[in-house]
Point group: C2
Chain length 184, copies 2
Amino acid sequence: MPHGAPLDVIAHSLRRERDRARLSLSELAKRAGIAKSTLSQLESATGNPSVETLWALSVALDVPFSRLVEPPKPRVQVIRAGEGPAVYSERADYVATLLASCPPNARRDIYLITAEPGNARESEPHMPGVVEHVVISSGRALVGPTDEPVELGPGDYIAYPGDTAHVFQALAPNTSACLVSEHV
Amino acid sequence: MPHGAPLDVIAHSLRRERDRARLSLSELAKRAGIAKSTLSQLESATGNPSVETLWALSVALDVPFSRLVEPPKPRVQVIRAGEGPAVYSERADYVATLLASCPPNARRDIYLITAEPGNARESEPHMPGVVEHVVISSGRALVGPTDEPVELGPGDYIAYPGDTAHVFQALAPNTSACLVSEHV
DNA sequence: CCACGGTGTTCGTCAAGGCGAACGCTCGTA
DNA sequence: TACGAGCGTTCGCCTTGACGAACACCGTGG
């Protein structure tokens, strides 16, 4: 679901990563096995590189491919307990606090879950490609895909695809967990 | 730092996502505004698409660009408390258990931290572009960049750049936390 | 039976990407 | 000052990606 002219993003990304790697245009082109003229045009947003060309640059720069084609991100942030925006709080026995999301289109969200025993919290499938990671902080909970949930205690960890129905049900009072929802 | 011939990956990714979207080759080509012959060649791993072509396909399929160029990932996994590989355990008062890493080259790692009061755990700067997220599960800790750490309690959250020196120092017994280290 | 709308493939043409050489440029240095 | 080594840019040539038409291949139903 990305938008924005990719060639501009690529141009800036290439320049940024090249500066970071302390490489000259000529040197990087040599390492990537491409003509420096090509690289020059790319950094000036002139042209439309082939995948192999960009790939060669990503390995030469030793950065993931997506770094070159997708825009960058922010820096620091602190959220005190109880401060963050609480979402999914339609019920008193389940509160999810959003700690971090990646604007404009989230690639991974981090939530703090606090829940009390009660009805299971069922989640409809999210976008395909979503994976959820849960680490139990305290209490006890039944977590995972609805058809095969797992009982977890403090320190336990589970990962499961988020694009299928899944559940989070506290089994003990004062249950809390850290949930990472990432868009792969 | 990705490897493996990208054109094969792209071929499979395109086919996979197109099937998932229930689109015919002709229909997808029409939506993306490219020739169906081009798409046909791409799915047969013949040729080397330009970025704009792939971009058009990613928006037409409504999937992130990286999904088309990077290989897929696994599905489910559970790690019981104390089961995972413990790393950074050179001292008894600080243990980090690796819960999840993204093979072959991690984009984000998830750790369970258990620590006792003692000497601060100092970390050298990681790769540039790394951001660490910490959610305190229990106890109390001093966390963040070495030059400006923050004291946190249960439920507190902090994010900071991992490419500068940073610290994790337990201030109370039985301190635990969930740490997400992501490569942006 | 063949015409039809649909699939995905292959073929010839044309524009565009990638290349290397040549260029102008700024530094150090003899 | 002149020279050389490095930088990044610009300029033809040639290869190659992208296009559209034509193709073969099913099911359908007239």
